[in-house]
Point group: C2
Chain length 87, copies 2
């Protein structure tokens, strides 16, 4: 199943560790604090466990949403670069 | 239908205007760059149009995902405050 993971994390080190965990599990970074990709039920559980472990005592807010084919096909995207930048 | 809207916006003024547009349409802010709530098909189209208008020529990356009941029930959340802060 495809999943969307979004987070708000204040502590810089924790944010990096959580981003790395998402990348380790094959999620793609679609925005600064948003990752998207296929996860098995086992990998989904493992990822959330790893995120909690890597965060240690630091605060974090993480949401993980399953996106089925219908939701995926009905998603909408606006993507415009800031003039004069590569971002 | 419930929708999740996430954005990456570099320009501060644009980010504020887009956040206000989401709040105007009754979405709740669940994270710094993420909003969630019910939208009719008409309001969903209007919101995206308003976001494009308010962004003017500035760059932005916005994703809007529909979340049906099944996705909503299977979402997972980790929410821990940073020690020593109210955040």
């Amino acid at each position: 199943m495809r999943y969307l993971l979004i987070y708000d994390i204040t502590h810089d080190g924790t944010r990096t560790k959580v981003a790395d965990a998402c990348l380790d599990y094959g999620l793609a970074r679609i925005q600064y604090s948003a990752f998207l990709g296929e996860l098995s039920a086992t990998h989904q559980r493992e990822l959330l466990l790893k995120i909690k472990q890597r965060a240690g005592t630091h605060g974090l807010n993480v949401h993980l949403f399953p996106l089925d084919e219908k939701a995926w096909e009905k998603r909408q995207v606006i993507d415009r670069k800031e003039p004069g930048t590569d971002e």
